[in-house]
């Protein structure tokens, strides 16, 4: 798709969408948001960026194949459940730590996994429809 307006505006849309997607991802911890919505926002930003530029630009931007992202996301989500098992607790029972009052948990790893899988899945799909 050869559009100067899209080409120019997508340069701004991409970083804003990425930043916003990370915000939504982290916000999802206790408020509406999370990996799924965050992943969709990121994928939308990347889609806007690659629509005027074509498939090869998408793959250059990502560095890895979107299929790899799906797998990596699933692997992260899978791993986030393992600490529970190692502590003889149910799978996916999430573990928490509070270094200096900052709540950190394996839930975040799970959510990042969801985020990556969603980005990967949407972009895998998109890649089939992009022009070269």
């Amino acid at each position: 798709m050869n559009s100067l307006i899209l080409l120019t505006s997508s340069r701004i849309v991409l970083p804003v969408a990425m930043l916003f997607s990370v915000y939504v991802l982290l916000r999802g911890h206790n408020e509406p948001g999370g990996g799924f919505v965050g992943g969709l926002i990121a994928a939308a930003g990347i889609a806007v960026h690659s629509l005027p530029r074509g498939r090869s630009a998408l793959l250059r931007l990502l560095k890895v194949s979107p299929k790899t992202l799906i797998g990596a996301g699933l692997a992260l989500a899978l791993l986030s459940g393992l600490p529970g098992l190692l502590l003889a607790e149910p799978y996916l029972k999430h573990q928490w730590a509070f270094p200096g009052g900052l709540p950190l948990s394996t839930t975040l790893i799970f959510d990042i996994g969801v985020y990556l899988s969603v980005v990967g899945a949407v972009l895998t799909f998109l890649a089939y429809y992009l022009e070269e």
């Binding site: 790899t68 799906i70 149910p90 996916l92």
Partner: protein, 512 residues
């Protein structure tokens, strides 16, 4: 190993398979190794689960650590452990078989991640103790199987895939609607919790209505009469390993869901559902076997036999005595092994004989006598001849129906057995016995020249045939196990207690 680990590992292995195979998408060789390793892991961890539940223990865990009935329970009793073991066995057997033939073409089309995704859906469905979660696993299974079915991307496959996915989506949507009704009625989705609440509901007529709706939804998945039409419309288009894993597992998840929900959640003694299931069982047996008699494509014959055999399992469920339920379980186990093996053999017939179409194949017994013997083991077992596994499973189911006074159902089962033998002999006569057409001889020579393919395809067939023989010759422990698993199903107290703990629960007093 503790219960959490035992129940999580059969799900973690295939999930790991999906994740790794996606990450290794551009390296087919690495995917093959990963796929085989995680399948072996699935088999081993499911054997550990079976060992832990062997004495009748029911294991339960709550994923995420949220207590039942709010969290999602995963439960392993004898039936689900046995089903997971058989899934692991199929994963390995069909996994090895899938290395041969046109493997490169399949692998380029995302075969391994989808294969593992299918296994993930199946093991999840067998282990979950939550009815909504069961729906989720059905969806995982449906999406993966659609991908596998349409893998080749030919016109024929896409046509079959669209039919398959549309008809199955209708069934899963109905399932979802049933779940919503059930939740509206009881306020719970946990199967153990439902087992406690449903008998206390005043409006038992509504419970029966929901039960019958569930029967339609699960029956469609299990391909029973008159909801089976998606199966013969789609199965014959997929390649041999894919259709073998479908035939082994997909419909049996539907049977498992019927078996589980109609023993744990709903009561078969309500007086309405059991006779309905009985009639459906008889019609399923008969239509399936008649459909098979009319066809000359090996895959179509075998597809119709899946339907026919599902009828026997339903027969056991309909009779609903401990012996009959045990017989149904034995039948499922026997059937998965035999049916998968027959489809694997169909792939070999296609390769060594040049076609799936029986008219174009012939003379295989002359050139490949051992293949003929390997075919006869599952074929005669399917028909129910002693001393093979099919004889014992048919024997238990038929005896149970005679004991319960269902002479007509028993007679139908026996007559269908004879017709099954007819179909199997038809394949034998055409593919193995009659003189070989020229094209078929050429294919046989190619087959004999390709040692690698032969090994990969025949090894799982030999293993599965050996298991069929073992169940046939040393039937006692298998029958005893199935009967105990059946008794465990009918006495739901152990299941409920394993999930919810002893004593009255919150939900028992919950009023809508």
């Amino acid at each position: 190993m503790n219960a959490h680990l035992l129940l999580s590992l059969p799900i973690i292995w295939p999930l790991l398979g999906v994740a790794l195979c996606c990450m290794l998408w551009s390296r087919p060789r690495a995917q093959r190794i990963t796929s085989l390793v995680v399948s072996a892991g699935l088999l081993l961890s499911s054997l550990a689960l079976l060992a832990a539940t062997w004495d009748g223990t029911v294991l339960a865990t709550q994923f995420g650590g949220w207590a039942a009935p709010f969290g999602i329970s995963f439960v392993g009793d004898m039936l689900s452990a046995a089903m997971v073991v058989i899934t692991g066995l199929m994963a390995v057997a069909v996994g090895i078989y899938g290395l041969a033939g046109d493997a490169e073409a399949r692998e380029a089309a995302f075969y391994h991640p989808l294969y593992q995704g299918l296994l993930l859906g199946v093991t999840g469905a067998f282990l979950t103790g939550d009815i909504f979660n069961l729906y989720v696993w059905f969806e995982v299974m449906l999406i993966s199987s659609f991908g596998l079915l349409a893998l080749g991307g030919t016109r024929e496959q896409l046509d079959a895939g669209v039919k398959y996915v549309t008809l199955n989506l209708v069934a899963t949507t109905l399932f979802l609607i049933c779940v919503a009704f059930l939740y509206g009625l009881t306020g719970s989705l946990n199967m153990a919790d439902l087992a406690r609440i449903l008998p206390t509901i005043d409006n038992q007529g509504l419970v029966t209505t929901i039960a019958v709706l569930f029967l339609v939804a699960f029956g469609s998945k299990a391909a029973v009469f008159p909801l089976f039409f998606w199966l013969p419309a789609s199965y014959h288009t997929a390649s041999a390993p894919i259709v073998a894993i479908f035939a082994a597992l997909l419909t049996k998840v539907g049977v498992y869901a019927i078996l589980r929900s109609f023993t744990l959640i709903f009561d078969l003694s309500l007086g309405f559902t059991a006779p309905v299931i009985g009639i459906v069982a008889a019609l399923t047996m008969v239509t399936g076997v008649l459909g098979a008699a009319a066809h000359f494509d090996v895959r179509k014959i075998l597809s119709f036999h899946i339907i026919s055999q599902i009828g026997y399992m339903l027969l056991g469920i309909a009779v609903a005595t401990p012996l009959a339920i045990g017989g149904a379980i034995l039948y499922v186990i026997h059937h998965i092994i035999v049916k998968a093996n027959l489809f694997l053999l169909a792939g070999v017939i296609n390769r060594a004989g040049g076609s799936f179409e029986l008219k174009e194949v012939g003379g295989l017994y002359k050139t490949l006598p051992w293949l003929g013997v390997l075919f006869l083991v599952p074929a005669l077992s399917l028909a129910g001849l002693p001393p093979l596994s099919g004889f014992w499973s048919k024997f238990v189911v038929v005896k149970a129906s005679l004991d319960a006074g269902h002479a007509l159902l028993a007679a139908t089962a026996l007559a269908v057995g004879v017709l099954t033998l007819y179909s199997m002999l038809k394949i034998w006569n055409e593919a193995f016995w009659k003189a070989a057409p020229a094209a078929s001889t050429a294919a046989t020579e190619r087959w004999l020249a390709d040692t690698g393919t032969r090994r990969a395809m025949l090894t799982p067939i030999i293993i599965l045939a050996a298991i069929t023989m073992t169940i046939g010759v040393v039937a006692e422990p298998f029958i005893a196990f199935s009967l105990r698993a059946g008794e465990q199903l009918l006495d739901k107290s152990a299941y409920v207690e394993a999930v919810l703990g002893p004593g009255p629960q919150r939900s028992a007093e919950w009023q809508p």
